[in-house]
């Protein structure tokens, strides 16, 4: 028994010289990155399979249509800053003729092109809303 205490005492003393290995500095961040991206995926799946999905989808869809219909008609000129950018890009001799006509002027006559940018913006907002509020839908 005394021998056991002796060896225990000296092992403890000897091992005091040894320090635990430290994990790499980005260890926690790597784990959290994986967890948070995984959580976002799970939330998306949960959100899209929720019963409230349909009502939210209809609301957002109606918002898109209303925005498109209520968007004031008329001629729109490109902002001056974009014209400057076009001039700079033309220096590189790339043909940007597609933006030479004011974009919003085309939008006035074409319902599809009119809706498209709004639909993209609405979908982005829609996805954010889903991720933000889907937690409260859980039963």
């Amino acid at each position: 028994m005394e021998e056991e205490n002796n060896i225990d005492k000296y092992t403890a003393k000897i091992l005091k010289h040894l320090k635990l290995e430290k994990p790499p500095t980005n260890f926690t961040e790597n784990i959290m990155d994986k967890i948070l991206s995984e959580q976002t995926e799970v939330k998306k799946i949960d959100a899209f399979s929720s019963k409230k999905f349909f009502s939210i989808f209809v609301m957002v869809f109606l918002s898109i249509v209303l925005l498109a219909l209520l968007f004031p008609a008329g001629e729109y000129s490109m902002p001056a800053s974009l014209i400057v950018a076009k001039d700079i890009l033309n220096q590189f001799q790339i043909d940007f003729s597609i933006i030479s006509n004011p974009l919003f002027l085309v939008m006035k006559d074409n319902i599809l092109i009119k809706i498209l940018p709004l639909a993209i913006i609405a979908l982005i907002i829609f996805e954010r809303l889903l991720l933000r509020y889907s937690d409260s839908w859980r039963v």
Binding site: I14, I31, Q39
Partner: protein, 188 residues
């Protein structure tokens, strides 16, 4: 002020606040890393397995009922995953050799060891631990460096208490045996 209990963060994670898991990782990463390192003996594998341990713990946190300490539950996951990594690589987990070591030499070995230069001391100590089997080095590291109780080690490594005691005893003797063979007098 006392450290906030693991349970506080566990509840937050269970409630959907994934970011609260960061505190649990920070608190337990060093021990998890060392448990895995003692078993796999490879820093590359350790980093990969230790990350997987935390991911698995996060995914199964709803199964943690709080019957044991969170640390024990987590370290057990670490132990099991490290063992299965080693088995996949077909590396030896433990050796069953036994050692005879003269008891009266214990103090002499210690006195000689204390005379070695500090940097060499760490080097030889690391070598002494590396020549133990994975399970023996894990037991001795957890017991002396992490100050875990025999009960806790037996729970997380799924060994009986007497098995932990035997491994501790054997690991100490092997370690002293290795250190006693160092040409200490020539180095001083």
């Amino acid at each position: 002020m006392d450290k906030i209990d693991d349970q506080y963060y566990i509840q937050k994670v269970k409630a959907g606040e994934a970011d609260a898991f960061r505190f649990l990782v920070e608190r337990h990463k060093t021990i998890v890393f060392n448990i895995v390192l003692q078993i796999t003996r490879s820093k590359e594998d350790t980093e990969e397995v230790a990350q997987d341990v935390f991911l698995k713990a996060y995914q199964s946190i709803n199964n943690f009922k709080g019957d044991s300490k969170f640390s024990t539950w987590l370290y057990r996951i670490a132990y099991n995953m490290a063992i299965s990594k080693v088995r996949k690589k077909k590396l030896p987990i433990s050796s069953i050799e036994d050692y005879e070591f003269a008891d009266h030499e214990i103090k002499q070995v210690y006195d000689d060891f204390e005379l070695i230069e500090n940097s060499d001391r760490k080097k030889y100590l690391k070598k002494a631990i590396d020549q133990l089997s994975s399970e023996d080095s894990l037991v001795i590291t957890l017991y002396y460096l992490n100050e875990r109780s025999i009960e806790e080690i037996s729970e997380l490594a799924d060994m009986s208490k007497s098995n932990v005691k035997v491994r501790l005893h054997r690991a100490r003797k092997k370690m002293f045996d290795y250190l006693s063979k160092l040409p200490v007098r020539e180095m001083i």
